[in-house]
């Protein structure tokens, strides 16, 4: 039964796409309601499935794998069918996509009202939803790639939706091409996986991975690095993040759904879906954590100074995506997904709120032309404020729970940088994460204060008629704001749960998703203990162990009964042993690598408290600089000789774009020009030379011409005979 429901989830938006695509000319405004209705049905199904999965309902045995729909590509040993796979991870993603999706659809009915391309807009949007659902439901990498490219296509089409807007078409093209660079990695990863495992079915890859690949081996490292390259494209990470800010040229609901809540999280989804492969490649994990942290930081610094409200949110999205990869990189896969979910709510709310603002003041996007809007659009002000609190990590909001847990896991599990000179281990990733959290609070409240508070700086013609959003736009804002407040309680960290008398009811989400991430967690855990044992031996030998190392080892030693296996060094044995031990100890599906319970509750609470303080200080800083009570505080700071160069650096987005344009776009074009020259003057030049020589030769031959057909025939005959003779003799 559930199989049919699962099929319905992607089918509904597909139907809406077909209806609007073929009959858009006639459906017009109704088309929006058709698309929304279809999406709502998918959302209800997804919600039911997600909740029953979360509660562990007996009616729903996961994973559900409906029989393959049809045989897609099969040649020789290769066989790829169109099949779906629905497990805990898929359930979350489907829920996020369809739930936020239907809210955005509803919102768009109001937002796009009167637009000449209304039907086209909903056609694209429905196609996007379909492709995104295929992406998360696919049971094989090539089918996942269909969704992956499909969402990229819709993104391309929707970014360029306002065809005559300056730069819109360029931005769409840029997004598509930059994503293709990532796809290059994804494709090569698939080819390599096929080479080693002989299959592209995700479940089969996972089941053979431990036997096929050596832990930390070159093959798996290359494969995962290439996959991660694909993820940096889709999920806008360094070095491929440059397309996302430009993508803001699309209509704001698109930015909310595609470029914040769903599509850009596909990279994190892919990593978690193939988490076992990543777990086998520690070098890739470290790379991912570092890239994630760096991206979070870089994008955070850029978000601080952007004038365009949507650009602030875009860079903020890049930054938050960085957190998600940081989580994955330190092995906290389920926290990456949890942040995907909470982020979908608060960032969706922020974007839709920004859309409501832009809509109400006739298209102004410059924060410095806003101000004082609180009085005019109260609902938007309130929901935007709540979402800002959530993203800043205000206690008990969604962002607090998800981001804080990521920082905690980073603190505990991130690889440390050892500074030999001072005999010091520095967890640099945690430090970057914390600084970024601080900046997050500043930039989000900077936008909030500049937009809604202080004196109105609106152009006078706009000021007189600010029109508040209608019901179709308000309802999604309110729902998302409520989500931003409460959805975090799905995963109250253990420490906090215990402290506040919730017993073992914490970390619900982590345990729920643990089923999916467990094999990866087991591999990581077994190798972590192995590594620490080695460290211990080394320390004992040399006799001057760093205090930190010893401390950590002691903590872990107690829970490492599989020491005997370590000597064998056999990956498979270790992983199995770890999994077995894990099952025996907990009896439930809890992520193992995080070693959650073993770290002291005090540490967890301490870090949480630190984060709260940071968030509050950040908000206060933003208030000091931008609330208007000290009107020139921000400009005085910005113009001061120490800060001014930094500000420019931030405003120009670290010159990434300029560098890329010069090097890659310009470079490719140059090579193209050279190739054309080569074609015209070298290859054709040789050809023309030959032709000229032939013409010279022809002049000599011309003297032999007698103008008699018989003579020609005779010569031809002789020639042919000579040819034959040559062939026969040779």
């Amino acid at each position: 039964m559930s199989e049919i429901f699962i099929l319905c989830i992607p089918l509904m938006p597909l139907l809406a796409f077909v209806v609007n695509g073929l009959f858009g000319r006639w459906t017009r405004e109704v088309g929006g309601w058709i698309a929304f209705g279809a999406m709502l049905i998918s959302a209800v199904i997804s919600l039911i499935l997600f909740v029953s999965a979360l509660l562990g309902s007996a009616d729903l045995v996961l994973p559900v794998t409906p029989p393959p729909l049809w045989d897609w590509i099969s040649v020789g040993d290769l066989s790829i069918s169109v099949g779906l796979h629905f497990d805990q991870l898929t359930a979350v993603m489907c829920f996020v996509i369809t739930f936020v999706g239907s809210l955005v659809f509803l919102y768009s009915i109001g937002y796009m009202h009167g637009d000449p391309g209304f039907a086209r807009f909903f056609t694209y949007l429905s196609l996007f939803a379909f492709a995104m659902l295929i992406l998360v439901l696919a049971d094989s990498l090539p089918l996942l790639f269909v969704g992956w490219e499909g969402v990229g296509l819709c993104s391309y089409l929707l970014i360029g939706y306002y065809m005559d807007a300056p730069g819109a078409a360029d931005a769409g093209k840029k997004a598509f091409i930059v994503n293709r660079v990532g796809d290059f990695g994804f494709l090569l990863a698939m080819f390599l996986i096929y080479k080693y495992t002989g299959t592209l079915q995700i479940s089969e890859i996972s089941s053979t991975a431990i036997e096929t690949f050596q832990y930390g081996g070159a093959a798996i490292t290359v494969i995962t690095l290439l996959m991660f390259l694909g993820c940096t494209g889709k999920s806008a990470q360094i070095p491929l993040f440059i397309w996302l800010p430009d993508a803001m040229a699309g209509p704001t609901p698109v930015s909310a759904l595609i470029h914040a809540a769903t599509m850009v999280t596909a990279g994190i989804y892919l990593v978690v879906r193939t988490s076992l492969l990543f777990a086998l490649a520690p070098a890739t994990m470290t790379t991912m954590a570092v890239i994630g942290a760096l991206t979070a930081f870089v994008a955070g610094t850029i978000a601080l100074t952007q004038r365009d409200i949507k650009k602030v949110l875009a860079y903020s999205t890049v930054s938050q995506l960085g957190y998600m990869f940081l989580a994955c990189g330190v092995g906290a896969f389920s926290m990456g997904i949890f942040h995907v979910m909470t982020h979908a709510f608060f960032k969706g709310c922020l974007f839709l709120g920004a859309g409501a603002v832009i809509h109400s003041i006739g298209g102004v996007q410059d924060l410095f032309q806003m101000g004082g809007l609180r009085k005019h659009i109260k609902t938007t002000w309130l929901t935007f404020g709540i979402a800002c609190l959530a993203i800043a990590g205000f206690p008990l909001t969604a962002g607090f729970f998800s981001k804080d847990e990521i920082l905690f896991k980073t603190f505990v599990d991130a690889p440390v940088l050892r500074i030999g000179a001072f005999d010091l281990n520095v967890n640099i990733l945690y430090i970057i994460g914390v600084i970024t959290a601080f900046m997050t609070a500043i930039y989000s409240f900077r936008a909030f204060f500049l937009c809604f508070h202080g004196e109105s700086r609106l152009p006078s013609d706009v000021r007189s008629h600010v029109h508040p959003p209608g019901a179709t736009m308000k309802i999604p804002l309110v729902v998302l704001a409520i989500g931003s407040l409460f959805i975090g309680f799905l995963n109250v960290p253990h420490g906090i749960a215990q402290t506040f008398g919730m017993g073992d009811s914490g970390a619900v989400f982590e345990r729920y998703l643990g089923v999916v991430t467990e094999p990866a967690a087991a591999v990581i855990a077994s190798h972590r203990t192995e590594h620490e044992a080695e460290v211990e031996v080394a320390s004992a030998d040399s006799g001057h162990a760093a205090a930190h190392d010893e401390h950590v080892f002691e903590e872990h030693a107690a829970e490492a009964p599989q020491e005997s296996h370590q000597e064998t060094g056999d990956v498979a044995a270790l992983a199995t042993a770890a999994a077995a031990e894990h099952g025996a100890e907990n009896g439930s599906a809890e992520e193992h690598g995080s070693a959650g319970e073993h770290h002291s509750v005090a540490l967890e609470l301490g870090l949480a408290g630190f984060s709260i303080v940071l968030a509050l200080v950040g908000i206060a800083t933003a208030a000091f600089l931008f609330l208007g009570r000290w009107p020139d505080a921000s400009s005085r700071l910005g113009d001061s000789p120490w800060v001014s160069p930094l500000r420019q650096f931030s405003e120009r987005a670290w010159w990434w774009d300029d560098a890329y344009n010069t090097v890659f776009a310009g470079g490719t074009w140059m090579v193209g020009v050279v190739a054309v020259w080569f074609d015209r003057y070298l290859i054709d030049g040789v050809l023309h030379g030959v032709a000229r020589t032939a013409r010279g030769g022809a002049a000599i031959i011309r003297s032999l011409q007698m103008g008699q057909v018989q003579a020609y025939a005779m010569i031809m005959l002789i020639g042919a005979n000579i040819l034959l003779l040559v062939i026969l003799i040779w």
Binding site: V75, L78, P142, F145, M163, D183, L187, L188, V676, I727
Partner: protein, 533 residues
Amino acid sequence: MVENNSNLLLLVTLAPLATSLVVIFAPRVTQAGFARVYALVGSIVTLLLSLGFISGMRADPAAYSSFMSVPWIEDWGIRFTLGLDGLSGMLVLLTNLLIVVSILASWTAITDRAREFYACLLVLQTGIIGTFLALDLFVFYIFWELMLIPLYLLIGIFGSSNRIYATMKFFLYTMAGSLLMLLGILTLYFKTAPLLDDGATFSIIRLVQVSSQLPIETQTIIFFAFAIAFSIKIPLFPFHTWLPDAHTEAPTAGSIVLAGVLLKTGVYGLIRFAIPLFPAVAEAYAPLFLALAVTAIIYGALTALVQEDMKRLVAYSSVSHMGFIVLGLFSFREEAISGAALQMLSHGISTGGLFYCVGLLYERRHTRLLSEFGGLAYNMKIYAVLTVIIVLSSVGLPGLNGFVGEFLILLGTFQVAPVAAAIATLGVILAAVYLLRMTQLALFGKLDREENKALTDLNAREISGLAALIFFALWIGLYPRPFLKLVEPTSRSLAELVEPGAGELVSDRVASIPANSPSQSDNRGQIDGAAGR
């Protein structure tokens, strides 16, 4: 050999020729006259007739389900032998489809000397069909040359301003190839004569059985005589420079047929003749062809990137895309060869479609310069939608036709030549760059030119031609199985033919050749091992 369906075979081959006779004597009533109607009806009849092959092809794609062989010049052992298996059947169907589309595309574009135009097109069709069906090298050569003349006339008479240069270039290039091939065929004929107990023959079926007994030097020379002729036709870098000129000057129909099927005759020649005759040589020189293919992919893409003339752009994209096909072929992996065969079909649809799209604009504006357009999506909505779909199919978007072939080619090639495949995959990025650039400059942006504001959207005839292509693009993209089944025996036998062992016979004689030819045994073992687990 059992002769079955031979009447149909002959009928399909000669129907276009017969139609061309009707067309040339069509009454001249209106400007375009009845010629176009006759031509369209004739081509549709041919298409429908060729559908009769499908059941036989599907039942056993490996066998020549339709076959005929009658003595022709018995003294020289020449028999008029035609045969249709899965691969050739698929290509004949593609040919007949694209001819219908190209007649639709010429409907109003060609009004001057319409009878001659359509007659040429139909003679060309017979030439192409015959080339795909011939199983006797002599017959093959006749049809091969038969293709040349009508296309020469199509470009030379009905082309645009610089057509004389283009035709000369095209003619000289292909004639050079043809002559080489003729020499090759004759050499093969005489050299194999002593090996055959039933007398010298041009029959490819017999020749394949004995050709490997020839001395390796002879094999190499004949192989290259064939391979160069076919490489010019494909065209493979560096023999490609005739293509952009020919395409740019050709009328729309000429471009559609040229890109859609004519180029495939080169690949087909490699698959049907050159490689099966001399598998050892093909394997030994595979690295050379892989290198040229990769060069073609990247080089074609880069040159396409900076073109201002849309037809030149699409022509260079063809060079790039044909490179993928050669790449897949010379990897000698089953997946890749199947992908290459499927890509022959796919490329015909996508690139044929692209030339159609450009032709539609050219007919309206008489220019192909990108700078002359922009914002067409505003007043040519249907055109914009269909063009974007065709562009995406050419870019290789999954779900449409281009992806399946490219994916299989790259996946297969990667198993034996990872570096070549990796570089070729870069071509996938570049394809998006140059095609989206074209789309953007033509369709998006501001509709700021007065001439463009007056342009009309497509009519039903124009839509139907593109819709037919899009239908196949979706079909191949979503459910390529029927097509893959058709080419499976060919690709499997080719992959097995060039398996290690076949090459050992000659390995010592071709020691001078770089030894890093793809070593399939290792990878095969690995895959099998993995699958076994």
